[in-house]
């Protein structure tokens, strides 16, 4: 198959070129001026498919919120070709048997690649280490307790030491657990006006400081999944400067929304960590541009209407993001903060590299996981039309720019926008 007349985005080289891509046996066989008939891309952008670290698919346990089928369809429609799934399901993915269940379900139902992560501690309780060796052999690509921060530093130290011996990647949510317990917004005048329990960005910085100290003691490979404020960006920069094997990520919500979006107690804007002040949002955007933050994720967290239609303090956290990750990220491009190649470093190349995957590159022999999109077409988001089972998006009714036209996984088209 040949994709002709495309604006080819190469995040590795940092370039955009006009040309064609030939696909053979599920891989990219040739890039450049290619003769022959194929699919005319009409000059739209062709980039390596997005590798999204931290997707919650609610299987097992809460299939009414999201399943592998619906998450896969949503991912495909959003240009995500690999979902790296979270272990915070019910039951928690903390044993090879449950991991295999997830792999089976994903293989039969999801139209995109699924790579599962496993819990770092049993039941994410922060007391006993999960079977990191077995889980890694069974295919777990990283180990994380997600938003359950390990309170007991000794346990975390041992987990990291053990993970280091297996060369496993540990992903953590940097947060000082006592300071952030029971809070739901970022402290400041706005939080005080709303009267909601609030946490200072300091808690994120303290959590990251602790983790980094343990990383330097144990030498483990470490990724902080959500670095969202300038105080903790300094910590990340210092860790990188001394050569630790550390990367940082952030969610698209923290790059495109701020604390004021909560407005009149709108629970669709309740995420973890809470949305930050505008200064911190801008600092995170600049950190993505400079490469200090390596990875942008959707932090896709489906929640049903019942768990959101509650007073703000009691409502569930999280937002869906598979289908909105790319259009929301394109806001950063349209605002002039990032180039398209720079954006796809953070969306595709860097997460793939961090997990040791072949994907994420626009190069010969790389897997033909590709997204074809129009970066400029405007639309208004209607949450009812999202493919996820849960519709808890913070972008409902917002104007966005940029839409996926076609998504390929291993050379096979898994999504194609119907002509309207």
């Amino acid at each position: 198959m040949i994709l002709t007349n495309a604006r080819i985005i190469d995040p590795e080289a940092g370039t955009e070129t006009q040309g064609a891509v030939r696909i053979e046996n599920g891989r990219i066989a040739e890039i450049g001026d290619i003769d022959g008939d194929g699919i005319d891309c009409r000059g739209l952008c062709l980039a390596p498919g997005i590798v999204d670290i931290g997707v919650k698919v609610c299987e097992p346990g809460e299939r009414h919120k999201e399943s592998f089928r619906t998450a896969g369809l949503a991912a495909a429609a959003g240009g995500i070709t690999t979902m790296v799934t979270r272990p915070d399901t019910d039951p928690v993915i903390d044993s090879p048997e449950i991991l295999q269940f997830v792999q089976r379900r994903a293989a039969s139902d999801a139209v995109v690649n699924v790579l599962p992560m496993a819990a770092l501690t049993k039941n994410r309780a922060g007391r006993e280490m999960s079977e990191i060796g077995f889980l890694k052999d069974a295919g777990a690509v990283a180990f994380t307790d997600t938003d359950h921060v390990t309170q007991n530093t000794r346990v975390l130290q041992r987990c990291m030491t053990y993970a280091r011996s297996l060369d496993a990647l540990v992903i953590a949510h940097p947060q000082e657990p006592v300071l952030s317990a029971g809070t739901c917004v970022t402290s400041g005048p706005f939080a005080s006006k709303l009267g909601l329990p609030s946490v200072s960005p300091l808690a994120e910085r303290m959590g990251l400081e602790r983790d980094i100290a343990l990383v330097s003691a144990t030498g483990v490979r470490y990724h902080a999944d959500q670095v969202t404020c300038s105080a903790s960006l300094e910590v990340l920069a210092r860790a990188k400067a001394v050569g630790l094997d550390v990367t940082g990520g952030t969610s698209i919500h923290h790059l495109t929304l701020n604390e004021f979006d909560v407005d009149d107690y709108r629970t669709f804007f309740k995420v973890k960590p809470p949305l930050r002040a505008e200064d911190d949002r801008m600092a995170a955007v600049e950190a993505v541009a400079s490469g200090l933050i390596d990875i942008i994720s959707s932090m896709h967290t489906p929640q049903d209407e019942e768990s959101k239609r509650l007073p703000f303090e009691e409502a569930a956290s999280g937002a869906v993001g598979l289908e909105t990750l790319l259009p929301a990220s394109l806001r950063l491009v349209h605002a002039g903060h990032l180039s398209l190649a720079g954006l796809f470093r953070a969306l595709s190349l860097n997460p793939a590299r961090r997990l040791g995957l072949e994907a994420g590159r626009m190069a010969k022999d790389a897997p033909a996981d590709l997204v074809l999109f129009d970066p400029d077409v405007p639309f208004q988001l209607d949450r009812a039309r999202l493919r996820s089972k849960s519709k808890n998006t913070p972008y409902d009714l917002q104007r966005m720019q940029g839409r996926v036209e076609r998504t390929l996984v291993g050379g096979t088209t898994v999504f194609e926008r119907e002509a309207t």
Partner: protein, 318 residues
């Protein structure tokens, strides 16, 4: 001069609207002192009080206000009812809404819960306190008390002292007194101040003598022991020593300064018992009296709007 459907907070009220409520309240103060207190302003209307949090004085005040205006009043202790059976706030609201109430008075432990409820029902909602957010009728009754005692509600120096972090009363009062252009001083240990409060147009100090200097009004807040989970203050006796109001500290305020407290009081913690009972300085009992009048005025104004809107809707239907 009161174009609102609900009274959810002081935020969003303009100075003339506040004055409208207070002016009408004056009439009800006089009415409440008569032997025959009954009026027919709300006759035929149904008022439901939903209190998801314990309350004695506020609930009694709203109940009495409704009854004196002729409404059919029902008070529900929500802690004891369907909430225990797992029903959500919105379902409870919709259930009651189906019974066609005209006025809902709601108190809830979560900030924003009353706003949420108001968006789901088609009657008027009064916020009787939501979490640490707002308690508008308390601020209005405080304002009425001040205006009657001081003859005006502007260009006064008001000291608000104590547990501001946990207080919805303080937030509503800061908004109201600020809107009416008064000078507001907050006096509290820094552990009991909410973050970013310095941007609310207030002066802040942790020294009572300094904060009370030249004050016309001293507003004490209750130390909300039930909302505290550790290490806000060292002990009640140290708190009383540094922040409790007694004769000596009050001497720094203006000679004719009045002392207020939203109740219930912790005597000997935030206020000296004798001072609280001093009829020359303390207006605490008067605040309670003003409370009924202000709530009557607020419900009266909301009911007028409700009737007008329903009449207009009926015309549209025809």
């Amino acid at each position: 001069m009161f174009p609102h459907r609900h009274l959810l907070g002081i935020e969003g009220l303009k100075a003339p609207e506040i004055t409208t409520i207070l002016d009408l309240s004056e009439a009800y103060v006089a009415q409440n002192r008569k032997t025959n207190k009954h009026l027919d302003v709300l006759t035929g209307l149904t008022q439901i009080n939903m209190f998801f949090e314990n309350s004695t004085r506020t609930q009694a005040s709203f109940e009495l206000a409704g009854k004196r205006l002729g409404a059919d009043v029902m008070s529900m202790a929500m802690q004891a009812s369907s909430i225990k059976k797992g029903e959500t706030l919105i379902d409870t609201a919709l259930t009651l809404n189906a019974m066609h109430p005209d006025i809902l008075v709601v108190r809830h432990p979560n900030a924003g819960a009353v706003n949420l409820l108001a968006s789901k029902v088609n009657c008027s909602v009064l916020n009787a306190g939501d979490g640490r957010h707002e308690h508008p009728t308390q601020a209005l009754l405080d304002a009425l008390t001040i205006r009657r005692r001081k003859g005006r509600l502007h260009r006064l120096t008001v000291a608000i002292c104590g547990d501001i972090a946990h207080s919805r009363v303080a937030r509503s009062n800061i908004l109201l007194l600020g809107q009416m252009e008064n000078r507001i001083r907050l006096i509290a240990p820094p552990t009991l101040l909410p973050s970013g409060i310095d941007q609310f147009g207030v002066e802040i100090t942790d020294n009572m003598e300094e904060g009370l200097k030249g004050a016309d009004v001293v507003m004490m807040l209750r130390l909300q022991k039930e909302r505290m989970d550790g290490a806000f203050i060292p002990s009640e006796r140290e708190y009383f020593h540094r922040f409790g109001l007694d004769e000596a500290k009050l001497a720094h305020a203006k000679e004719d300064a009045i002392v207020m407290h939203p109740g219930p009081m912790n005597r000997g913690v935030e206020i000296d018992g004798t001072l609280a009972d001093d009829i020359n300085r303390s207006v605490i009992q008067e605040q309670v009296e003003m409370g009924v009048a202000v709530r009557m005025a607020a419900m009266d104004l909301l009911a007028r709007n409700l009737k007008a809107w329903r009449m207009r809707d009926a015309e549209v239907m025809v």
